[in-house]
């Protein structure tokens, strides 16, 4: 076959050669002429230095600093750039052993020859000052500035929570994090992680053979500066918080104080506590293990997570329900023979003036009165059955935020327990249970359990005469208009008119001229209204409980105090609540003797002493 087109091979050749020439010119520009890609021969490299943002600071409601940052330095290594160096000098500057150096370098090499690994974490600024001078002798090493949390005062550790390094699981769930990043693990640090975190940045540097930074790459065109995290203001009052923690020393329990009008948490104490500095930086792992092993469980946030019986403090709610349901009015009298007896069941009561109406029944914490009205309600024919009456009762209870998470801005809040009819159905059989079997609920015992924050919130709802705002720890985030907390207002099922007799009773508990269960808590002029409780504890001595708010009109503070194994509510919890209210409202404490008495009380070492005795 004759080939007419053989000359076309020249055109095809040209079509092949031309693009390749174009490529070679392009390569010449890229590799030889363009300075932006030119890094002189040897082993010059770009180094990406992550710019870690410092976390936002945390302040209390009055702008007092609670958490700030201290600079530390991570020593990084790039194994591919290492050169022989004076190990002895290196070790003595850093205070590490030769084995440590060998181990870490081995690990770093296994990870990558060309990417940086952390060689030594969190070097103090002092060590860094020495190291910085001599870093040029150790090619392949460089430092990366980091920040750690620092606490001006050893308070509010449960509220603040702690910060730790991300692990693999977190990185998988949230690709925004990378190995070596920090994040809040508990408390406010966790809830407001996004606000506090800030944004990472990166600086790209040119580095010469001597490991010296020669300048930024392309004049910082690709650099991204780190953005500092937002500062936040908590609703905590540092003074009250500190004072509460001081009073709870050597005790187990919790104090929660709330500003009723706003739902802002003024103080949240869980005792025993721990020093927040223990969970910062390198010693954290060891300290954490030690704290977890502590039998008193200092890491456990009792204010949010401990389930306690409500105790007699609960009588105020039962009184409100009876009023609302029309079972009694404020003048309804019952007599009290000193005990409440039906068949074989006897609930004992203290001796007091009788007969009593509701305010006095609260004032003297009369068991007979509350057992009677509770059963009267459950047995009332208008509900059709005990189950019907019980369901109405339980709905009222839940409207005070009990039995459910309050959804305060904490992540580890527990629900407490308000029993449901189904529970008794399972236990006794459907419709086989009577009001008598439930009578311990009348005085805050039985199947009901609450957390201290729920009790404080319930008290706030009483102080507000029938409504509460979801309690929260955050006041505001600096530099943003965004409001990350829910400030929902919840109405209870009790009409505001029914609160006066109950509050009158609570007022008399503290201020009653003819005696009340917590006369010790009286502070003239503050009009503290409260209710004592003694939560029966099957495992040991009863817990001392007190709820209170003050002043009676326009309340500024609502509080719940639980002291484990401290006996009567009037003994420990009431004076503590009274001292805190006084401190918060007046700024000082007038009853030094009472304060000393509380400070001297010790329910931890006493127990240990008792145990020792038993063992001996």
């Amino acid at each position: 076959m004759k080939d007419h087109f053989s000359d076309r091979k020249y055109i095809i050749m040209a079509m092949i050669v031309l693009p390749v020439i174009f490529f070679i010119v392009r390569l010449f520009i890229l590799q030889v002429m363009d300075p932006s890609y030119k890094l002189s021969a040897s082993s010059n490299v770009l180094r990406n230095v992550t710019q870690y943002p410092s976390r936002g600071l945390i302040y209390d409601r009055n702008g007092k600093l609670l958490v700030y940052n201290q600079p530390v330095y991570d020593l990084m290594v790039i194994p591919g750039q290492l050169a022989p160096f004076d190990t002895t000098e290196f070790c003595s500057i850093l205070g590490i052993t030769r084995e440590y150096v060998d181990n870490e370098l081995q690990k770093a090499r296994e990870y990558s020859r060309f990417r940086s690994s952390v060689f030594l974490k969190q070097i103090s600024s002092l060590t860094y000052a020495v190291l910085q001078e001599k870093l040029f002798k150790f090619p392949g090493f460089y430092v990366q500035p980091r920040t750690l949390r620092k606490y001006p005062k050893d308070i509010a550790s449960h509220v603040l929570g702690y910060v730790g390094e991300v692990d693999r699981r977190i990185i998988q769930e949230n690709p925004g994090y990378a190995m070596g990043d920090y994040l809040g693990i508990t408390g406010v640090e966790k809830t407001y992680e996004e606000e506090l975190r800030g944004e990472k940045g990166v600086n790209i540097f040119l580095v010469d053979v001597h490991n010296r930074i020669m300048g930024s790459y392309q004049d910082g065109k690709f650099d991204v500066p780190a953005t500092v995290g937002n500062d936040i203001n908590l609703s905590i009052d540092a003074v009250t918080q500190e004072y509460g923690e001081k009073l709870m020393r050597n005790k187990i329990g919790s104090i929660v104080a709330i500003e009723p009008a706003t739902g802002e948490i003024l103080s949240l104490v869980s005792a025993p506590s721990y020093d927040p500095e223990l969970l910062v930086g390198r010693p954290r792992t060891g300290n954490f293990r030690q704290l977890s092993a502590d039998t008193l469980n200092p890491l456990f946030n009792r204010a949010l997570m401990a389930h306690y019986p409500a105790g007699s403090a609960f009588k105020v709610i039962n009184g409100l329900i009876a009023l609302q349901e029309g079972i009694i009015n404020e003048h309804t009298n019952y007599t009290c023979p000193g005990h409440y007896t039906v068949g074989r069941l006897t609930v004992r009561c203290r001796h007091h003036i009788a007969p009593v109406a509701l305010p006095a029944a609260i004032q003297y914490s009369c068991n007979t009165y509350f057992c009677t009205i509770f059963r009267d309600m459950l047995d009332h024919p208008k509900y059709g059955s005990v189950t019907g009456g019980f369901n109405v009762w339980a709905d009222h209870i839940r409207s005070f935020g009990l039995g459910e998470r309050l959804n305060a801005d904490f992540t580890n809040e527990l629900r407490g327990n308000v029993p449901v009819a189904g529970y008794y159905d399972r236990f006794y059989g459907e419709n086989r249970w009577r009001s008598l079997q439930l009578v311990s609920l009348a005085i805050g015992q039985g199947e009901l359990s609450v957390t201290p924050i729920q009790m404080a919130n319930m008290t706030a709802a009483i102080a507000n005469r029938g409504s509460y705002i979801t309690p929260h720890i955050l006041k505001n985030v600096e530099n943003t208009d965004a409001n990350p907390v829910s400030r929902t207002k919840h109405e209870t099922t009790i009409d505001s008119v029914w609160f006066e007799p109950v509050i009158e009773g609570m007022y008399r508990v503290v201020n009653g001229p003819d005696g009340g269960t917590a006369r010790l808590a009286e502070v003239p002029g503050l009009e503290i209204c409260g209710k004592t409780g003694t939560a029966e504890n099957p495992h040991g001595d009863d817990h001392s409980v007190f709820i209170a708010f003050a002043p009676r009109e326009d309340p500024q503070i609502a509080i719940s105090v639980y002291v484990e194994n401290a006996g009567f509510g009037s003994a420990m919890a009431a004076p503590i609540a009274s001292l805190i209210i006084e401190k918060y409202l007046t700024g000082s404490v007038s009853r030094k003797w009472l304060e000393d008495h509380i400070l001297a009380a010790d329910f931890i070492n006493r127990e240990i002493a008792e145990t020792d005795e038993q063992e001996n």
Binding site: I12, P19, V20, R26, L27, K38, R113
Partner: protein, 474 residues
Amino acid sequence: MSRKINLWSNLDWLTVMVYLMFLIIGWVSIYSSVYDDAHQSIFDTSRRYGKQLIWIIAALFIAAAVLMTDNKLFLFFSYFFYAFTIILLIAVLFFGTEVNASKSWFHFGGIQIQPAEFAKLATALALAQYLSTTKLKLHDRRALLSLALIIFFPVILILLQPDVGSSLVFFSFILVLYREGLSGYWILFFMLLGVLSVLALIINEINMLALLLLSSFAAIVFILRNFKVITKGTLIFIGVSASVMGIYRLFSPQTLLEVQLILTSVTASLVVLIISYLSRIKHVPIVLGFLIAAIIYTYSVDFVFDNMLMPHQKSRINIVLGFDDDPMGQSYNINQSKIAIGSGGLTGKGFLQGTQTKFNFVPEQSTDFIFCTIGEEWGFAGSSLLLALFVFFLMRLIYLAERQRSPFARIFGYCTIAVFFTHLVVNIGMTIGVVPVIGIPLPFISYGGSSMWAFTLMLFIFLRFDAGRMEFLR
């Protein structure tokens, strides 16, 4: 016996040497790009460089086996081989393993086979067979249609995977058709299509329309140089446009302005085209026909780009056209690749001294971006030398193709050249940022058995033909 000795001495050893050089350069570059201290031996088969050695040895066996066979085999079985590959391409759509959202691979134990790689070879054989045995003329419409079918049937199947990169390679067979007598206008036509596509994406629709109208007007003025006729035509054009626009304004004013303008100018051009055709005015109908086709084509490019491409494909095209510049996003790959190559300088950083191509700085560093390692470690000197070697290789193949006496061998040779050339241009163009990121390997250099075996088969089938070129004389 004599035939074998004949073969041994007739084999083009120069090409074989260059081939071996490519294999070694590839192997060493892969070693360097995934090098790590813990596995220093280049023979360590748990690493890519060790595996590449296995692929290389297998490829050499394949090459030897091809040289041993009778070259008539490929002639006889070319259609059969083509049909078999088509079946594979269909099968992979159903039974393939999905990698990066495309079904392109068969997995048999540890070995992965990509049928698209072998489809290039099969199509080349079928094309050579069809072109050489039929006494056809390349401007014959039916012949063109059959050729288009042979080429584009696998393209459509590969696009279904979807693997845009591999399917683009098939367009290079137009080069072969050109060599065999296809009108040069086809090449110009495809180039024009390319330019129009790029312009359509860069320039917005209205400006593009204006540009097309103005250039056609200029062309008509240049051709006619008769102002009376031009003025008449222009008046007709404006008149029709105005009335069409008026109809739009009246009946569907909510239609997009671009759509209105496009339809208006197409209608007006069509009217003027018909009038000029009826008035026997030369050339003007052709120019207007082109204008209409171009308008429709540009609009459809935009339509395809906006509605049919996947986001990653769009962004790759945008990067090359210079729209997106986001160093941590899609252009990250190209940027890292350019930094790596650029940091090589004149003479490079030296073997194993590259830092940018190690680990994750450059993605796919041992496969599609292997040229980065070469650019970084051997610098401008090394990379341009490699390009020169490729040019030499292709020129040598052209020389070999041209000395064939059988058209089949020549056509197949040109197919081989076209495939290698496309891979070279697209792959290198991608690493230096002048072509969108299309994942196709650099022949013989990139990591991977499937592509290396397919390329080896192609090259050695051609070399076998070349070695036996005298046989056809007898």
